[in-house]
Amino acid sequence: MKLEEIKEGIKDGLPIALGYFSVSVAFGVSSVGAKVPWWGATLISLTNLTSAGQKAGVDVMAVGGSILLIVLTTLIINMRYFLMGVSMSQKVEERMPVWQRLLVAFGITDEIYAVSMGKKHDLTACYMAALIIPPIFGWTGGTLLGSVATNFMPAVLADAMGIALYGMFIAVIIPPSKESKKVLSAVVMAILLSVMFTYAPYIKNLETGWAVIIITIVVSSVAATLFPVKEGADIE
């Protein structure tokens, strides 16, 4: 049983690791461009395991910004992980001990979260470990490679890789939207608001991190009020 869980985790984690590898090469290249040494960039990836937050942090470092500014920037961009953490806390096995929950918390990224939530079953520690470890290697290894060997990947290939992670999100969103009008309504509302936050005058200046949080809270509240899930139904 445990071996099955580990196999399943690795099978789900490898595609994420590959996607991360290619994206983090770009992060490594851009960090060196921002005067962060290769070991700094690699250490950032190993300890943060997040894309947008790291990029923003390095941007602040590049201009020698204060530590407080680095903390605030990271906080805003990564605040969505708090909401993901709440739903992840409900999706792991109820009997999972605290120390394992605290380790799983480190691995909450957009993609790992997306895959976890797509599972029909509760999440076990073995599955989560096998799911999280390959992406850590992919993310850190890609950064290392990108920062020591800048410009080794043809630009057109690196460019096309940018869409891969969004493709994974689509793979999570579409199947349930097809099955359930409620989910589809929430998805459509989220997209409309997101387009508004991207293009509408004034509000488009809002930090992307804030926009995602506001959209998540507003749309999920509206959906929960209009289309509550069945009593006793499992959160999937």
Binding site: D12, N48, L83, S89, Q90, G162, G167, V212, V229
Partner: protein, 103 residues
């Protein structure tokens, strides 16, 4: 950039990020019974991922046309319940072909 500054910055980023992830996992250890909260949490993944994907996906590669066609391929593959890797690679392959063709 001094090594001290680099270490301090990295520590600040890492601790902040971990704190955000760890807090809810440490607080909510029991299954939440409230129906509204359960419903709210049910929708969170779909809403977060939709908001992050659209419209950002259209500017995720070097060409808007490539990204749009890549997005269309992803939606089609996902509609037929293809796995994560197939959908991701399909989208990237489409974007690559369009860009390689110089469109």
């Amino acid at each position: 950039m001094s090594n001290g500054y680099i270490f301090a910055s990295i520590a600040a980023m890492a601790l902040t990020t971990y704190f955000i992830r760890m807090l809810p996992m440490a607080i909510f250890r029991k299954k939440i019974e409230n129906r509204w909260i359960r419903s709210f949490l049910y929708y969170v993944p779909y809403v977060v991922l939709s908001a992050m994907t659209f419209p950002a996906i259209f500017s995720s590669t070097g060409s808007t046309l490539g990204a749009s066609l890549g997005c269309a391929v992803a939606i089609m593959l996902a509609y037929f319940n293809k796995g994560l890797l197939t959908v991701a690679v399909g989208a990237a392959a489409m974007a690559f072909i369009v860009q390689f063709a110089g469109m």
